[in-house]
């Protein structure tokens, strides 16, 4: 199907079903129950899932396949956001030209940065990309203020000279982003008993683009080009002596992953038309690295899992406060309850970053292959158990 192997087609299908049904799947708890706090089926959160999924898929094409660890990928996301907002300001509120421009501009930007950075490898490459990203960040805050609007961030205003469209909407406000008339913010709410399911136009646009991005990444992974990228990671010396020039391959991977980041940035701006320099900061770059590693670098599904995982728990953890904690531990005796709350308190709410950092370390130390590897290990364990119970000779697992 779609020119994919059966295994890959199944994976794509699973992701398609999951993203399309996300408003149901992510809202398993009735909205008036105590567990509703674990729901994630809100339009803006779901949008973030898929947008960062796209970002991580793109990052994985570079890092997962070639092993080049970029610490400056957020710069491309930021550039994409700025381009999209400018498109909204100048051309039209339709998201298509905005997204196209953000992909193209981010790609061009990645071409320049990649051309320079890829002259080095290993840690030097990481530091070069980091330096470039920090430079972009510093410039966006200072000199480039006419383009980026500095600390305030770039926003739409009532006197934007929109060529195709109006500066002011009929009700006197700023027009909203749309796709041929479908407003990105429009949401259809469905009440089913105590459940509330929300279907958001913007989310579905992002989800379709995620599927396209995911499909393309599968094709790249299985292509001769993808094989060459893995060869870069595995042994550059042998690659050279096999008559292959590694640099254009890595540069192509860098530009492709930069364009993915630009797409993600463009989508962020399409959902909420503003762009700020903080999107380019190196902690933002670190976040996408974390998503990819946590999910499983070099695997197809890993980055999507990682992005969803981190964005979901970011949302949940940030919402938890001491009251919620006291509810949780209410079954314990008073002293123990207070003790538990004190223990857990630093890790939730504003302490999400601390949890994130700890998780980061734990994954790198104990599970370098990420969630996907963890899943495989558990799967193998079960299979072995089963095989042992059947007392049949263990089936040879085909090498991946």
């Amino acid at each position: 199907m779609f020119g994919l192997e059966k295994k890959d087609a199944t994976l794509l299908l699973i992701v398609a079903v999951l993203t399309m049904c996300a408003p149901f799947i992510l809202n398993p708890f009735p909205s008036d129950s105590g567990l509703a706090q674990f729901n994630a089926g809100y339009p803006d959160l779901m949008q973030r899932f898929v947008i960062f999924g796209i970002f991580a898929i793109g990052f994985n094409i570079l890092f997962g396949l070639t092993g080049y660890l970029s610490f400056g990928h957020a710069a491309f996301l930021g550039v994409g956001s700025y381009s999209a907002v400018w498109m909204f300001k100048l051309l039209s509120m339709n998201v298509i030209p905005a997204i196209l421009l953000s992909v193209i501009v981010a790609g061009a930007f990645a071409l320049i940065i990649g051309f320079v950075s890829l002259r080095r490898s290993g840690i030097y490459f990481s530091i070069l990309t980091l330096a470039f990203a920090q430079m972009s960040f510093a410039l966006a805050y200072s000199v480039l203020t006419p383009i980026t609007n500095g600390e305030t961030g770039l926003q739409l205003s009532l006197n934007d000279p929109r060529i195709l469209g109006t500066s002011i909407s009929a009700d006197g406000g700023i027009p909203v982003t749309q796709l041929f008339g479908i407003e990105m913010r429009s949401t259809y709410a469905m009440d089913v008993g105590p459940w509330l399911f929300q279907f958001n136009a913007g989310y579905y646009l992002c989800a379709i683009l995620l599927l396209l991005a995911f499909y393309l990444s599968i094709r790249i992974f299985r292509s001769p080009f993808g094989l060459m990228l893995r060869a870069v990671k595995s042994n550059q010396q042998r690659m050279n002596y096999t008559g292959l020039n590694a640099r254009p391959y890595t540069l192509a991977a860098f530009v492709i992953s930069g364009m993915y980041a630009g797409l993600a940035g463009g989508l962020l701006a399409s959902m909420d038309p503003l762009a700020g320099a903080e999107r380019m900061q190196w902690t933002a770059s670190g976040e996408v690295v974390l998503m990819t590693i946590l999910g499983g670098a070099g695997t197809l599904i890993g980055p999507v899992l990682g992005a969803g995982f981190i964005k979901y728990f970011e949302n949940i953890f940030s919402k938890i406060n001491d009251n919620v904690l006291h509810q949780w531990f209410a079954f314990m005796p008073d002293g123990l309850e207070d003790f538990m709350v004190t223990i857990v308190h630093p890790f939730v709410g504003k302490g999400w970053s601390l949890t994130l950092g700890l998780m980061f370390m734990a994954v790198v130390i104990f599970l370098p292959g990420g969630l996907v590897e963890g899943g495989q290990k558990i799967g193998k364990l079960f299979r072995r158990k089963k095989a042992a119970e059947d007392t049949s000779p263990a089936a040879k697992t085909p090498a991946e």
Partner: protein
């Protein structure tokens, strides 16, 4: 001329901090082959040692003063730090005033302990892992340390004063024969520079004149050979890590009066220190020191209004621009040895 000297002086304090952090980074990279992204966090922890010592010394008890009342008619209270109570008003107040330099004594054991724990507990397991893994795990550690500090000390910068005698500025230009009021320089920055110079010399002397230092230098040149000699190099490298942590910590302690400690200062300095190491040459100690001062001074030159008028924003990016140029034209850095991680 006076403007040039002024900018050089202005660059010295930042340059000193860069040099000290870069020195530790290089020591760790050169000996252990590990890229430590948490080194900036150690610098930050050092700064917070100064904050902590000042707070500890200022711990006070309340005394009720019945002779005065506040506007509600209650007897007013006043705070007396225990230190003042124990050592008398003059000496006790002096101790509090000197809390930043005193924090050095407090910081040394703490930083060495943190360094030991980090190396034995975490870094040790990453010697044979790829550089990317080392970067990632130390990056995670940096986030953790930063967030822990943020949790206990809050997100706002904490002003930490230098001792009374060193507050204020003096006319440095007069000493050099310039007109008065041309080159005004804060005392503490000069103290910081002198302090950095002492630490750097001490590290170099330690490496040059002790057997321990000799082994470490040999280890930096060729880790495997030293291992073959049967020297327990790992233990020495642990000590080395502790030393590097202490250097970063001390740099942080003394920097507290210059830059009010905040939780993200580590990250800010780390990125720049990495650039410094790269410019100086991975694995070259003199290179790190030289590049630290050079870039600090360069940054201060780029901050001159005349320069900013010429190239807007140059002060923000000068260090990165230099790093990119150096990496592309002379990848081993100013003083790096040939072949050390060039590709």
């Amino acid at each position: 001329m006076d403007a040039i000297i002024l900018q050089i002086l202005n660059g010295l304090d930042k340059g000193s901090a860069y040099a000290l952090i870069a020195l530790g980074l290089t020591l760790i990279f050169g000996t252990l082959g590990v890229v430590n992204f948490a080194h900036g966090a150690l610098f930050m922890i050092g700064s917070f040692c100064a904050v902590t010592v000042q707070r500890i010394l200022s711990v006070s008890f309340k005394t009720v003063d019945p002779s005065k009342t506040d506007f509600l008619g209650n007897p007013s209270t006043y705070d007396t730090p225990y230190v003042v109570h124990w050592f008398g008003p003059e000496f006790g107040a002096g101790i509090i005033d000197w809390s930043v330099p005193l924090a050095i004594l407090f910081a040394i054991p703490i930083m060495i302990a943190i360094g030991f724990i980090m190396e034995r507990g975490l870094i040790k397991h990453f010697y044979k892992r790829p550089h990317a893994d080392q970067i990632l795990v130390t990056f995670g550690l940096a986030i953790v340390l930063q967030e822990v500090i943020k949790y206990y000390y809050g997100a706002n910068p904490i002003q930490t004063g230098a001792p009374e005698v060193f507050r204020g500025s003096f006319d440095f230009g007069v000493l050099l024969g310039f007109d008065p009021n041309v080159i005004i320089y804060p005392y503490w920055r000069l103290v910081y520079f002198a302090f950095a110079a002492v630490i750097i010399s001490a590290v170099f002397a330690f490496l040059q004149f002790t057997t321990f230092g000799m082994v470490v230098r040999a280890g930096m040149a060729d880790r495997e050979t030293v291992g073959l000699l049967g020297i327990n190099i790992d233990k020495r490298f642990t000590i080395m890590f502790g030393l590097a942590a202490a250097v970063a910590g001390l740099a942080g302690v003394m920097y507290a009066p210059i830059n009010a400690p905040n939780y993200h200062m580590g990250m800010d300095f780390l990125v720049l220190s990495f650039v410094v190491v790269v410019v100086g040459g991975m694995g070259s100690l003199p290179g790190a020191v030289l590049a630290g001062f050079l870039l600090g001074i360069l940054e201060s030159f780029a901050s001159m209004t005349q320069v900013i008028d010429l190239i807007p924003g140059i002060n923000q990016i000068i260090i990165y621009v230099v790093a990119i140029i150096v990496l592309l034209t002379r990848p081993r850095g100013l003083m790096g040895r040939k072949g050390v991680m060039e590709e």
